[in-house]
């Protein structure tokens, strides 16, 4: 029972979702629900912070609870805070959209809460079973959220595409898990790692096939090339707040799961997954950056940018060192906030925010919104005073230190390409004549979310060491005696 304390953030979110489902009939306005969701997210952050032990002090053997299926380490805590913050910002960004699109508010927010619960579980899983269930909970809610908009054919199409491809990717992941279980006889990360190294299964064909299938399934979740085809359509079809939530939250959840699986379960096969991930990273960076150039829809542009950013984030993990993993999760954290900010500006501009040409002359009609967009674009490009630079610098540095100089060169070249399409929006905003009337006033909730995102983007850039204390790599699980005890139980 005492183990439940470590799942308090998940319990808070799931409990709030259950209450919302119960009272759904009596809720008609989104505002009150959004406030309760933000409060729940705050409570989740607090409980995650208060009850999870500090990673450095706690011995590695103490960090696994629930019979070795849940890791209670600093890594899990970091991602729980990130997911709760993403949830709070997405809840704020959604208020206006839920009211105008006639989406049932209680159900919408309940699905957001359950999706965040799934992300938290996936990030804290120390067992392939929990990992799969957490990711499945997340993506099942995401399918519905993408298609929840009333009477929009493009949203229905996006939801169907997402569902079909997502089910296929889930099947890949599950088949990979089954193969790994078949060879090692365990779903526990630590037990898999020790079975592989003790019985020398590193080159076992089933192990390789299982690893490749799992990498494919997880690459779908983070939209890495060649598993990216769904992302532009889904981001464009989904309403902007849902797209923001997916771009920030589900991507970070996929990265969290990938980093932990690679480092904790497949540590003996580091050479193999390192090469696989290097391939994914190079393809994602190049394809994402090149295809983003020709986009005319802001949400599609941000979708391709998210594909390229996953490539950068993977650079840290490719090295396979704890420092590299820290760089990757720092990237996931900072990317979440800057992409939430960029989507927030799209939401703030309303319908016209989706068309790239609508940004012409925005600096004259809405100077504050334009300045915020400029900040997020600078950060996405990776230009110094912003957090995006710090994140990109960290992953490229770890790639160079790990001896992957070619990857680092590709990353820098893709950043140069990406500067073209990010800064083109800035040129449109600041150097062209305004088109049409000034946009309507930004709603208070959206303004609050934008302020938080901008704050993180600026602080992360000016004080780069702010986050390094939190971004600890995953603990590597249990000592061998703990494993035998878990197996005999």
């Amino acid at each position: 029972m005492s183990d439940l304390v470590f799942l308090l953030p998940e319990l808070v979110l799931a409990g709030t979702a259950l209450v919302l489902i119960l009272i759904a009939r009596h809720v008609s306005r989104a505002q009150a629900v959004a406030v309760s969701v933000v409060v729940a997210a705050m409570a989740a952050i607090f409980s995650g912070w208060a009850f999870t032990p500090e990673a450095p002090e706690a011995p590695a053997a103490m960090t696994v609870v629930f019979g070795g299926t849940i890791a209670a380490d600093g890594y899990a805590r970091f991602f729980k805070v990130l997911f709760a913050a993403t949830l709070a910002l997405a809840a704020l960004l959604s208020v206006k959209h839920v009211d105008t699109e006639r989406v049932p508010p209680a159900e919408y927010y309940a699905l957001l809460l359950l999706a965040s619960t799934g992300m938290m579980l996936a990030a804290s899983a120390a067992d392939l079973l929990i990992l799969y269930l957490g990711l499945e909970l997340m993506i099942l809610c995401a399918y519905v959220l993408v298609g929840i908009t009333v009477n929009r054919p493009i949203a229905n199409e996006a939801a169907i595409k997402y569902f079909l491809l997502g089910s296929f990717a889930s099947a890949l992941l599950l088949y990979g898990i089954a193969l790994v279980y078949g060879v090692t006889g365990a779903t526990d990360f630590a037990a898999i790692a020790s079975a592989v190294s003790e019985r020398n299964l590193t080159r076992h064909p089933f192990m390789l096939a299982g690893l490749a299938l799992m990498a494919g399934g997880l690459a779908f979740k983070i939209a890495a090339v060649p598993f990216h085809a769904w992302a532009p359509d889904v981001y464009q079809g989904a309403s902007a707040p849902v797209a923001a939530f997916l771009a920030a939250g589900s991507k970070a959840a996929g990265l969290a799961a990938l980093v932990r699986v690679c480092l904790a379960a497949f540590a003996p096969e580091q050479r193999i997954w390192s090469e696989m991930l290097a391939g994914l990273a190079v393809l994602s960076m190049i394809v994402g950056s090149l295809l983003a150039i020709s986009q005319t829809n802001m949400k599609r542009l941000l979708a391709y940018s998210s594909i390229a950013h996953v490539g950068y984030a993977l650079l840290g993990l490719v090295t396979g060192t704890p420092d590299g993993a820290s760089a990757t999760i720092t990237y996931a954290f900072i990317y979440s906030f800057m992409t939430l900010g960029a989507f927030g500006v799209v939401i703030a501009l309303g319908e016209r925010g989706e068309d790239l040409l609508a940004y012409r002359g925005l600096a004259a009609t809405a100077p504050v919104t334009a300045a915020l967009m400029f900040l997020f674009l600078l950060s996405l490009t990776g230009i110094p005073p912003t957090a995006g630079f710090v994140a990109k610098f960290a992953v490229i540095l770890s790639a160079v230190r790990g001896g992957h100089v070619v990857l680092a060169v590709v990353a820098v070249m893709c950043s140069v390409v990406s500067a073209f399409f990010y800064l083109r929006v800035a040129v449109m905003m600041y150097m062209m004549e305004p088109q049409g009337a000034a946009p309507a006033r930004v709603p208070g909730a959206v303004a609050a979310a934008l302020a938080v995102a901008a704050f993180v983007t600026i602080v992360g850039g000016i004080l780069p060491d702010t986050f390094t204390a939190w971004t600890v790599p995953p603990s590597l699980g249990k000592t061998p005696t703990e494993i035998t005890r878990a197996l005999t139980r």
Binding site: T69, I130, L137, Y143, V150, P205, F206, A209
Partner: protein, 172 residues
């Protein structure tokens, strides 16, 4: 039951499973295909029974044959496809699909080699005697209580999602 009887039962079940699977994908009439799939499910349940997994066999019959197959048949009848409009049974990609299937078969054959995959400790007969249902229940509510609860959340999300998506026609 003698070893010979068990073996011949297995070979009968396996042969009929493979045959009905092949028939299921080659019939032009979708309802006939579904009925062959039903035969496949029942025979696979028989294989589970031979392995001593009574619960799995019952689930196979109740869930797959009972629920999922009926669901498919409902859809087929709602769509009401005329036989000639059903189109060719195989799409343009069938060589690719056949290759994937053969790869699966090769993979399974490879797994058959006993030296490659370590032997699992067989379940002791003493713990198995109360019936597999009881041991599944015990495992589900002790060791796997947390995954069980997460699964219930997944089902809840699926129900809420289905209601939200289905209800929207009534929104004025």
């Amino acid at each position: 039951m003698g070893i010979l009887a068990g073996q011949s039962a297995f070979y009968y079940l396996a042969a009929v499973s493979v045959a009905s699977a092949i028939l299921a994908i080659t019939r032009r009439n979708p309802v006939h295909s579904m009925l062959w799939v039903l035969a496949l499910f029942v025979h696979v349940a028989g294989i589970f029974l031979l392995l001593g997994a009574e619960f799995l066999a019952a689930v196979q019959v109740i869930v797959y044959a009972g629920a999922i197959l009926v669901f498919y048949l409902f859809f087929l009848m709602l769509l009401d496809l005329p036989v000639e409009a059903a189109g060719p049974p195989f799409g343009a990609h069938w060589p690719l699909c056949a290759a994937a299937g053969l790869a699966f078969a090769a993979f399974a054959w490879y797994a058959h080699d006993p030296g490659l995959v370590p032997a699992m400790q067989p379940v002791e007969p003493a713990t198995r005697s109360p019936g597999s249902l009881r041991s599944i229940g015990m495992a589900l509510f002790t060791q796997f209580a947390l995954p069980f609860e997460i699964t219930s959340l997944i089902l809840l999300a699926a129900i809420v999602g289905a209601v939200v998506v289905a209800k929207r026609k009534n929104v004025p």
